[in-house]
Amino acid sequence: MPQQETFSTAPSLAKVFVRAAVAGKKSGSTLPTSELVLAGHKVDRQHLMDYQRLCGFGVDDVLPHTYPHILGFPLQAELMARKAFPLPLMGLVHVENTITVRRSLTSDDVLDIAVHAENLREHPKGRQVDLVTEAIVDGEPVWSGRSTYLARGRGNPDAERGAQAPSMPQGVAAAQWSLPGDLGRQYAAVSGDVNPIHRHALTARAMGFPKAIAHGMWTYARTLGALGRSVNGPSTSHVWFKKPVLLPGKVDFVVDRTQSPVVAGLRATRKPETEHLVLTLDAAR
């Protein structure tokens, strides 16, 4: 059994990031065995509403497909910022994510959120690790997420790449979204993810990006939100993050519902060959 550490409130991401920024070099090839648990989390309705509005979900009592992820993310960051975690938090790139909603969750559900790391592995471009988040209500696992992060570095060209992303749906955009310059700040306010690459062009430039970039989890949530309310019921999604979305910017939402599972994606409106993300969704209609 992994060692459990229970939190009554989520760790502050701002503090975690500061700790990570001043931490020394990370190394090693084993993962911490701790499981971090946020116990008895009651949904804050105002927070839920802010999240639903920002990500394009309807404002009601049903938790969006991606909502438990943002409850668990501070635990992920806390775990990854620790000395025992072999990869540097600030250099990690969120490359893939899967989520399974086992039953429709509501704001009345009191959630236990448990996070652990597993499957540290080589990748052609560095090393990858999975952060697994489980949401539990009354002992019943109701939701799970697997976030895959890549630490760029000396890779192993022979390493497994994992499941390949499906190709992006082609054709005309089902919708076009203009993303405002302050989207990163808006999402940071709701998610607590205050990573400077999302906040401002200046802070993003300091981190090597030409402009502020949208949070991947926002683009994922917004794309799912556009696929209808079935995403909040029993369903599974798998997203591959490709090129970051620079802010402000305009993106095309594309979808192919003839496939099963459904494939959807975001591409740059002005340069359609730039693909931001592609995802699959398996949901009961």
Binding site: M49, G58, V59, D60, D61, S107, R229, R285
Partner: protein, 429 residues
Amino acid sequence: MTPASPRRAAILGGNRIPFARQFGPYANASNQDMFTAALEGLVARTGIAGERLGEVVGGAVIKHSRDFNLTREAVLGSSLDPHTSAYDVQQACGTGLENAILVSNKIKLGQIESGIAGGVDTASDAPIMVSEKLRRKLLKINRGKTTLDMAKAALAIRPGDIGIATPANTEPRTGLSMGEHMAITAKKWGITREAQDELAAASHQNLAAAYDRGFFDDLMTSYLGLARDQNLRADSTVEKLGRLKPVFGKGEGATMTAGNSTPLSDGASAVLLSSEEWAAEHNLPVQAFFVDGEAAAVDYVHGDEGLLMAPAYAVPRLLARQGLSLQDFDYYEIHEAFASTVLSTLKAWEDEDFCRDRLGLEKPLGSIDRSKLNVNGSSLAAGHPFAATGGRIVASLAKMLHEKGAGSRGLISICAAGGQGVVAILEGA
């Protein structure tokens, strides 16, 4: 008598979210959010997710211009088949009931097999308008072709132009609020403070009792933490209501208080109607039939009649068409815009002069058995999100008539701003 109707329009069930007081738990919810929630609850309860309905008709009295397709947007946000068409109607507080008339008429004519009628309103998330002067100047700036044009137009803005306005519960033609209008009518009909407070207390007590016996369990979906109408005071009494100070009307004779007037509220409701064949195909029991509806309007502008008295005219016309008397009903649902609205209407129907001179009747419509009036509470207790009230009443009455048995009858009467009124008859199945 009506021409023979080719078929009947059945009411299969309804759903609403609990009504909240203005700036209460739904303060930040939009009309679209609330209507989608009410709609989705109805879809889930009746198991019609993925169905293409004939139409969904909704609407709101207070609406942002960006919500031009409010109902269609709610359908797209629901689990209904996106091929379901939808439109908005606005007839002030009569909106919800008018929508049920529209859907039932199309069903009777065979134009559609099924449809949802409803409505929503928010008194909290209201549109804000700039002053009329500023609006005209801003439009001029927007029309400017060059930056210079626009700058010139912008210079015309004066500090005094800057002001915001929110929608008010005021009649545009008279400048009087609805309460002030009602106070005139209440005085004319000699409606006492005690009678109003009694009706208000009964509304709260009846609504509380209905909750206690689970009447609303299959008529409501909780929303944003609210599971019961926020305005409900189960312990309301005539004594407590008697302590409130009058807010409408002037001086000694003022009788209307915040307790016997409906508060501004937020909420949404929706009702599923269909042909009997469609109901059978979908294994949904018919609760009641939508028999007939009628709307009326009065000239309140020139003092000829009270603003909220139109239902007093609509009901006798409907009764005559259906060959019924006012006493032929098991339940009366008279919307409580104000306690005095209900009491003035009832008094008018008992009044020989009014019935002769205004309605052209040989004898008065007469009294009703007051124990059949608003038996599960009405707007004074539940609150009154304008366009949502019709759906609330139709769904509740259909269930009451179903419990009463086949052939039972209910009368609905709803007054509306602009001197209008919408009324309807339902029959139990």
